[in-house]
Amino acid sequence: MSTLIIGLSISMLLFLLAAGLTLIFGMLGVINFAHGALYMLGAYLAFQAHATFGSFWPALIVSPLCLAAAGLAIERLTLRPLYPRTHEFQLLATFGLILVIEEVVRVVWGLDYRHLTPPPGLTGSVALFGSDIARYRLFVIGFGAAVIAALFFGIERTKLGLVLRAASVNPTMAATLGIDVNLVRSLVFALGAGLAGIGGTIAGPLLPIQLSMGFTIILDCFIVVVIGGLGNIKGAVFGALLIGMTRAFGQLYAPEWIDIATYVVLLAVLLVRPQGLFAAKERLA
C-alpha cells in the first residue's frame, strides 16, 4: 500500500513537469530542454521563500509566480525571435538556458544540498490500510489531483482553454479571427514554467534540493510525454502514472533495474503505438 502511495506521489510530480512540457510543445512547437532547470530553480526559490517567510505555504505561491514571470521573459527574449527558424535553434536556445540557470543557481545558493521541511500538520505519518504512510505524500497526491482537475477544467471549459485548443492546431486561422497568438504563446510558456515552479516546491520536502535534480527528473518526464503522445494533457496523466508506478514498484522489487524498467515501458508503448497512447490526429492542447 505504501508503495502505491509513493508511486502516486512520484506520478504527480512527474505530471506537473510533463504537463508543462507537453503544453509548451503543443502551442509553441518547442521541446523545452530547460524545463528541468526551471523545476530546479523553482525548488531553490521555494527554499528561499521558505527561509524568508518561515513557512511552506508562501513558498508554494511565490516560487510558481516567480517562475511564471521568468517564463514570460524567457519566451519573449529567447524563443520568440527564433520561431521563424528551424527547430535546432530553439533546442539550442533552451539548452543554453540550462547553462545560464544552473550558473545563476550555483552563484546564488552554492553547491550545498538544501531541503524543505513539510508544513506543520503534514509531517510524520498516518496508519492507513495497515501501513505507515507519510502525510506529506498524501498531500502531494491530493494537490496533484487538484492541479490535474484545474488544468482539465481550464482547457475544456474556459475561454483561454478554447483559444489554446484552437491556436495550437491552427495559429494562422486563430490570428485571422483576432487572437493574439504571440500572447497565447507567452502565456502558455509562463503556465508551463509556473507548473515547473509548483513541481520544484512540491519536490522540496521529498527530495534533496541540488543542482542536478532537474536533469534527474527531466529524462523521466520526456519518457512520460512520449508515452502519452506529444502535446496531450490526458496522455501526460497516464504516462506519469505508468512511469511513477514503475519507479515505485521497481524500487521495491529490483532497485538496480529501475532505469532499465522505465525504458522498457517506453519501448513497449512505442512498439504498440508509435504515436503515443493518446495522440489523436489533431492535438488537444
Binding site: L162, R165, A166, N170, T176, L177, G178, I179, D180, E282
Partner: protein, 230 residues
C-alpha cells in the same frame, strides 16, 4: 472602404500580385473572378494581413493599415473566410463560433443570429468540426467570420463544391449580410454565382486586374481567354 493600392506581393522571388488596385465599400458586393492561380486568394490574404506587401498600401476607411498584423486587422473589422474553410476540427461548431467572439467587442452578430441565418448550424452546434459536411463547414466558416462583427468580409470561393440547394442558401445569406451594411469581396473561379450577387466585377489574371466593370454579361469570355477562342 477596404482597399489595396498599387500592391505588390511576392512568394519568395516569384511575384504574385503586380500593382494591384482594388477596393470594396460598405454594403457593396464586389466579385473578383479569375482562373486558378490568378492571384485572387493572394489578394484576399494580403487584405487580411496574412501576406505582407512588397510595395503599395493597404487601406481601411482612409487609414493606412499596410503593416497591421492579422489579429489586429481582424479586430479592426476585416474578416476572411479562407478557401479551405479552416474549421477547427477538434472544436465543436459552437466552440468555433465562440472562439471568433473572444477577441472582439460585442456587436450586432451573436450566436443566435448566426443560427437564425444558418438553421442547420443550430442543429449541429455540439458536433465536432471534423464531422461536419462541406456545406455545414462553409456555413460555419461564414458564421464564424460574422461573429467577429466585421465591416468587411472576404469570401474565398464560398460555393466551391457545394450542392445547388446549398449554393442557393449561401447566396441568400451573402446578400442578406451585405444588406446589413457589410462590404463583401467575393472571389470565384467562374461568374455564375457572382452574377447573381455582385454589382461590380473585377477580372484578375497573372496577378493583375485585366478588366473591371458592371456588366457581367460577357464576363466569362473576359476572364477566360480559352472561352474567347471558341
Amino acid at each position: 472602404m477596404l482597399a489595396l493600392s498599387q500592391a505588390d506581393v511576392f512568394y519568395g522571388r516569384a511575384q504574385a500580385l503586380h500593382a494591384l488596385d482594388l477596393g470594396v465599400a460598405p454594403a457593396e458586393i464586389v466579385a473578383m473572378v479569375g482562373r486558378n492561380g490568378a492571384g485572387k486568394s493572394t489578394a484576399l490574404k494580403a487584405l487580411a494581413g496574412l501576406l505582407s506587401l512588397g510595395a503599395g498600401r493597404r487601406l481601411l476607411d482612409g487609414r493606412d493599415i499596410t503593416g497591421l498584423a492579422p489579429h489586429r486587422t481582424s479586430r479592426a473589422g476585416v474578416a476572411l473566410v479562407p478557401e479551405d474553410r479552416q474549421i477547427f476540427g477538434n472544436l465543436s461548431a459552437e466552440e468555433n463560433l465562440d472562439l471568433a467572439a473572444v477577441s472582439h467587442r460585442p456587436g450586432p452578430w451573436t450566436k443566435a443570429r448566426v443560427f437564425a441565418l444558418f438553421p442547420r448550424l443550430a442543429e449541429r452546434a455540439r458536433a465536432r468540426g471534423l464531422t461536419l459536411s462541406g456545406g455545414e463547414q462553409q456555413m460555419l466558416a461564414i458564421g464564424r467570420a460574422l461573429m467577429t462583427n466585421p465591416r468587411y468580409l472576404l469570401l474565398d470561393e464560398p460555393t466551391e463544391g457545394l450542392a445547388p440547394v446549398v449554393v442557393a442558401q449561401m447566396c441568400n445569406a451573402i446578400a442578406a449580410i451585405a444588406r446589413d451594411g457589410v462590404g463583401i469581396l467575393l472571389v470565384e473561379q467562374n461568374a455564375k454565382v457572382p452574377r447573381l450577387l455582385a454589382r461590380r466585377f473585377l477580372v484578375v489574371d497573372g496577378g493583375r486586374i485585366t478588366w473591371e466593370g458592371t456588366d457581367a454579361a460577357d464576363i466569362d469570355e473576359r476572364f477566360n481567354p480559352m472561352n474567347a477562342v471558341h
